[in-house]
């Protein structure tokens, strides 16, 4: 048996003749007229819907179409027409739940009205980071924590211990009764870390049931808020410490809440005090008693405010009684800065717990106004002198707290209240600080409508107090969000810019200018924008001031390009490019270029040939490209290439193909370091060639033929400069196809030859997305694709028959394939398919205006003989390989490979040929011999053969089928 099989190796490679047309027709699915029955899985729900629809259609269209055709509407749209099934389902839900749902939603709405702050309220969390970043210090800070009882230092108990033991014990438990800690000379970062540690020890103490210790930590922390040394750090300190207070408030609330939960029921979110059991109430009361006895005012205030929410457990009116009392309590705080932050905290807690209690918020605001004069009093002035802090840097320390209080008060406040607040602020002398907070906190629409008033007030402000540029900045921020009255717009800009342009300090200037660019872009033309850009350049160029202000300058650029989507207008802003020149640090420059390109890609709709745009963007792209070096990350390169490609795709000179090509030539020289760009260029040039062909309707004139050859040459010389091997292979193939389509036969041959000679260089492993993978499957894919093209490539008159195929076969033969792999054989099987297709009288497909081998040789017997010889060789190779697979571990492969070879012969071979017939029978046995094959596949195959045998001219298959036994597995 074995011998017999191999003896057949010399069998003639007889291909069977194919009638592609007939086969295609028979393969095609039977055309069954579409019928849409009434049944659809989603339909039952909408029976009524579809009925009414039919009726209406009958009524409206008087077409004679039959009922079946009238139902041939798009099935998807007909189903989805009308109400969607889910909401229908919801609507038909039983009335009880419906009522409940409505009830719920009504309740929810009621709640929305007063007790829930909407998303339009900027939460504290978003201010936190900003404050921490802005209020910093390089001075040394100190933390003084005294955890003792009020009676005094209980040092006696530990005095007997040796010093060493004592310090060790203190380290172990910082908050033991009587321990005192004074940490001096802390840097800001140390301070932040220490506070974070305190926050952690609070949580730990709580978790280990040391409630008293937790309370002590909180009291000590809030005490730090009465310390105003290193005053410029105070706002940040406030943020850090109130974090701890928030934690504490949450812990206490949750603890008492959990006490209300008995085995049966959980307290609802909106409970009333009657539902709270006595133990929980008693615990809650205990907390309040304990806090009420805290000696010092500031800790007592903060700690009580932090557990304000717990009043809910005791009585319905608890919070509404407590808030006004705490508000009054703040009046006892002498230091105006400490006091305004205390108010900010109270408003913060108030907004969270009971935002509907507006009265207290308002009282905080008006109380603050009453104490405003203190800021300029002796006590504060003496303190500033002592700390060496100037008024202009002291006043902005108030802003975060004031902004917050103002924001809380003005949230959804009636216009009348806002006006009253503003009037009250106006009356106070030296009110720049107030003015600034009004502008930061009030609705932008309110401010914008009164822009001219505000400008007037800003001008009147005392020069020595709050910095004016901050005021203009705040106003600008409002105008970026809301529009002032049409008639005032230009005057506002003029008035504001008059002041801004006079600012001496470049930092102050740019912070202000940055904000106003938005307003200018929004309401004015490129002329005004140009003026502003020119002014910025003028201010930022001396002493290279721009080096310290890249973020602001970047933001200006972003705002400008966000408003000028039309790049021809943008680049006609004279100062735009000079402005770009200020970005001299490369990384920033590239960032800016990227922004520009992103906007261009996003907004440019039409391809362009505008020389201004092209020049400018080429320059921008070149900047990006030139930033690439050996250290550039892959992702970055990909991003840059994506942006540059986006630009290249948008450049079109219309019918001026020559210009287009010379643009591609220029682009190639500019962007040679980015492979994806070169790939894009090759594709673009190929497309250009095909466009030309389309315009000439396939008949090139002498001129266009030359042009197309130039395109082909472009590709041919560009491809070798690429690194990716499969990129090159595929581009060779692709460009070869384009050359063939444009009747550049010798050029096409050159591409294919180049591809063939590149195949031996394919490494075994290639890098794909950073991972090494075997390349064989990619190679197989490429070669199959290649074979399909080779079918139609006509033979060169000076070379032998099928020289390209032969050459490729040699290369495949010599390629070092992975051991234990069958890829080579799979390729050979594909070659057999190719050869079979080549031996047909008329090929399956052609390229327009190119004569393939079928018409060149016209079925010449010599050609067919050559073809057969090749087939034989290839088959011999396959059989040889099958022989080597007779080993135990390879039997499975042998079986499947044998079957696939059998299938190939079945599909492509002429089985009337006896030897081929015998070979196929042998392969059938081989596939089944070791029981490795899937019986179902074999059954299916046999069924297929039997079915095929019924086709005309296929009768011989009946006999074959009889010779193919099915092996039952034993």
């Amino acid at each position: 048996m074995e011998k017999e099989l191999w003896a057949c190796a010399e069998a003639n490679g007889h291909s069977r003749n194919r009638n592609y047309k007939a086969e295609f027709a028979s393969c095609r699915l039977e055309a069954v007229p579409l019928e849409f029955g009434d049944y659809h899985p989603l339909k039952p729900i909408m029976v009524t819907e579809s009925k009414t629809k039919k009726v209406s259609r009958k009524g409206s269209t008087s077409s004679t179409s039959s009922s079946s055709s009238s139902s041939v509407v798009d099935p998807l749209s007909s189903v989805l027409d009308g109400t969607d099934p889910l909401s229908m389902f919801a609507a038909s839900a039983d009335p009880a739940t419906l009522a409940a749902a409505m009830d719920n939603s009504r309740k929810k709405r009621d709640r929305d009205d007063n007790s829930i702050v909407g998303s339009d309220f900027e939460p504290w969390a978003s201010k936190r980071g900003e404050i921490l970043a802005r209020y910093t210090t390089t001075e040394k800070l100190s933390i003084n924590l005294f955890m003792g009882s009020e009676k005094g230092k209980a040092g006696t108990a530990t005095s007997a211990m040796s010093e060493k033991v004592r310090t060790r014990l203190e380290e172990l438990d910082d908050f033991e009764e009587g321990s005192q800690k004074e940490l001096l000379n802390l840097t800001q970062q140390d301070y932040v870390n220490r506070i974070e540690e305190l926050n952690q020890s609070l949580k730990d103490a709580w978790a280990s049931d040391q409630k008293v210790k937790a309370l002590k930590i909180v009291i000590q922390c809030s005490k730090l808020l009465s310390d105003t040394s290193v005053i410029q750090f105070y706002p940040s300190k406030f943020v850090l410490i109130t974090d701890i207070l928030d934690t504490f408030g949450k812990l206490v609330y949750e603890r008492i809440f959990s006490m209300c939960v008995d085995n049966r029921s959980v307290l609802p979110d909106h409970f009333s005090p009657e539902n709270v059991n006595d133990t929980a109430k008693e615990t809650c009361l205990n907390w309040f008693f304990k806090i009420a006895s805290i000696r010092e005012l500031i800790p007592r205030f903060y700690v009580e405010a932090s557990i304000l929410k717990c009043n809910k457990f005791l009585s319905k009116t608890g919070i509404s009684e407590c808030l006004p009392r705490l508000t009054c309590m703040v009046r006892g705080i002498g230091d105006p800065l400490v006091s305004v932050y205390a108010r900010a905290y109270l408003c913060r807690v108030g907004m969270e717990v009971a935002p509907h209690l507006k009265e207290s918020l308002n009282k905080n605001f008006f109380d603050f106004l009453l104490t405003f004069k203190q800021i300029h009093g002796d006590t504060v002035q003496n303190q500033l002198v002592l700390q060496g802090v100037e008024l202009p840097s002291y006043l902005p320390l108030y802003s975060p707290a004031m902004d917050w209080v103002f924001q809380c008060v003005s949230y959804h406040a009636p216009e009348a209240l806002l006006t009253e607040m503003m009037e009250r602020c106006k009356k106070l002398g030296n009110n720049a600080l107030l003015l600034n907070s009004v502008m930061s906190a009030f609705r932008a629409e309110f401010i914008a409508a009164r822009s001219m008033d505000f400008i007037g007030m800003i001008k009147e402000c005392d020069e020595s107090g709050f910095p004016k540029h901050l005021l203009f900045r705040s106003l600008g921020l409002n105008l970026a969000l809301a529009d002032p009255p049409e008639s005032d717009r230009l005057q506002i800009l003029n008035e504001a810019w008059k002041v801004i342009t006079k600012l001496k300090n470049p930092q102050d200037y740019i912070n202000c200018a940055e904000v106003w660019v938005e307003y200018t872009c929004k309401h004015f033309t490129k002329r005004e924008v140009n003026t502003i850009l020119a002014d910025v350049i003028k201010h930022m160029t001396p002493d290279r001031a721009f080096e310290d202000s890249y973020p602001q300058l970047q933001s200006i650029i972003k705002k400008v390009i966000a408003h000028f989507h039309d790049f021809s207008v943008l680049f006609s802003v004279e100062k735009f490019l000079p402005f770009l020149d200020m970005f001299q640090k490369e990384s920033v420059r590239v960032e800016v270029c990227k922004c520009i390109m992103e906007v261009f890609i996003k907004h440019q709709q039409e391809p362009t040939k505008d020389p201004v745009i092209l020049n400018a963007l080429l320059h921008v792209c070149k900047t990006m490209h030139d930033s690439v070096n050996a250290l550039t990350l892959e992702d970055e390169k990909r991003m840059l290439a994506y942006l540059i490609n986006g630009f290249i795709k948008m450049v079109s000179f219309g019918r001026d193909f020559e210009q287009q090509l010379s643009f591609y030539v220029e682009a190639r020289s500019m962007f040679c370091n980015l492979e994806p760009v070169l790939v894009q260029l090759i594709h673009s040039v190929n497309r250009l060639a095909m466009e030309t062909r389309k315009v000439m309707k396939g008949n090139h004139s002498r001129k266009t033929a030359a042009f197309v050859r130039a395109c082909v040459a472009y590709c041919f010389i560009t491809i070798p400069s690429l690194a990716g091997i499969f990129t090159r292979l595929n581009l060779y193939l692709h460009s070869g196809q384009v050359a063939l389509a444009n009747q550049c036969l010798s050029q096409a041959d050159a591409f294919f030859k180049a591809a063939i000679s590149l195949v031996p260089e394919v490494p075994k492993m290639i890098n794909i997305d950073g991972k090494m993978r075997p390349s064989e499957s990619f190679l197989l894919e490429f070669l199959c694709n290649f074979f399909s093209t080779l079918l139609i490539v006509p033979d060169h008159p000076e070379h032998g028959v099928l020289f390209l195929v032969r050459e490729l076969l040699n290369v495949i033969q010599d390629y070092t394939w992975e051991e234990n792999s069958d890829e080579k054989i799979r390729i050979y099987t594909c070659v057999l398919h190719l050869l079979s297709a080549m031996s047909q009288e008329t090929y399956l497909y052609h390229v327009d205006k190119v004569d393939s081998n079928d018409s060149l040789y016209g079925g010449d017997s010599k050609f067919l003989a050559e073809n057969n010889k090749l087939c034989e060789t290839v088959m011999a190779q396959i059989l040889e390989h099958l022989k080597t697979l007779a080993k135990d571990e390879a039997l499975k492969r042998q079986s499947s490979l044998g079957l696939s070879f059998f299938n190939s012969i079945l599909a492509h071979g002429d089985l009337r040929n006896n030897r081929l017939n015998q070979l196929s029978v042998n392969l059938w046995h081989l596939a089944q011999r070791h029981g490795c094959v899937d019986t179902r596949t074999m059954v299916k195959t046999l069924e297929y053969i039997k079915k095929q045998s019924k086709q005309p001219d296929m009768g011989h298959l009946t006999e074959l089928a009889l010779r193919l036994p099915l092996q039952t597995r034993t």
């Binding site: 009420a292 006895s293 000696r295 005012l297 009054c328 705080i333 009453l370 104490t371 203190q374």
Partner: protein, 247 residues
């Protein structure tokens, strides 16, 4: 863990009045069955009279020396220890019948109103005005009022409320009087704004106050001091006797 005893009184706040029933449960928890020879409950009321270390024959304090405890004993066999658990509870005097009427008091403090001043001329000028809503207080309600610093030459350091308990014990040889500060609450910190009223607000501590008591042999009374500290080192005190009652 062996066997444990626990007393659980029904009222969470453990406050009872004369004539009321104190009820609750004794919880015995243990791994195995517990043998015992009887459980007994005892109520004890004690007054601890502490002699002062400073002056002979003077009691240190009455307050906080009155104590009511409920004790539960479990007698067990010879081999096992007897178990005991005690639980303190509080007895409040029966609320007084009748209507409580507030007795407001206004005050003004200037250098001229002060007594015990050595050199009046050295004092900085100031004017502090205010009022207490009532000097007769319900013990469960806070002491309230207002205070305005109308003017002050010197910067204010702090304003505090000092609650003092005065105990007087009389007998044939005379009487002993003892004042103890039981709570100090700061109501102003730093140089407060002039002309702006500052709230006076103090919660009476539950464990350290009781209704004002006056018998032939001893008295327990309360006073509040408003203490103003001025820069650099002036201390001004204004005293108000209080009458506490339970309603």
């Amino acid at each position: 863990m062996g066997t444990t005893l626990d007393i659980k009184i029904k009222r969470a706040n453990k406050v009872y009045h004369a004539g009321e029933m104190l009820s609750g449960v004794v919880v015995i928890s243990g791994k195995d069955s517990v043998q015992h020879q009887g459980l007994s409950l005892t109520v004890e009321g004690t007054v601890n009279l502490q002699l002062s270390a400073k002056s002979v024959g003077v009691f240190e304090a009455f307050y906080n020396s009155v104590k009511y405890t409920l004790r539960c004993d479990m007698r067990r066999s010879l081999l096992a220890k007897d178990l005991t658990k005690t639980c303190e509870f509080i007895v409040h005097s029966t609320p007084q019948k009748g209507k409580w009427t507030p007795s407001p008091v206004d005050f003004t403090i200037t250098p001229d109103t002060l007594q015990n001043v050595k050199e009046r001329a050295l004092l900085p000028k100031f004017l502090i005005r205010g009022h207490l809503n009532s000097t007769s207080c319900v013990i469960t309600q806070p002491l309230t009022g207002e205070l305005v610093v109308e003017s002050s030459e010197a910067a204010i350091k702090s304003i505090e409320l000092q609650l003092v308990r005065v105990e007087t014990c009389g007998c044939a040889e005379g009487y002993a009087r003892d004042a103890t500060e039981i709570q100090n609450i700061q109501i102003a910190d730093g140089d407060v704004c002039r002309g702006l009223s500052i709230p006076i607000y103090m919660v009476f501590p539950r464990l350290f106050t009781c209704p004002t008591l006056e018998t032939t042999n001893f008295k327990v009374e309360f006073e509040v001091n408003i203490v103003v500290l001025l820069h650099p080192d002036h201390l001004i005190t204004e005293n108000f006797p209080l009458k506490l009652c339970r309603m």
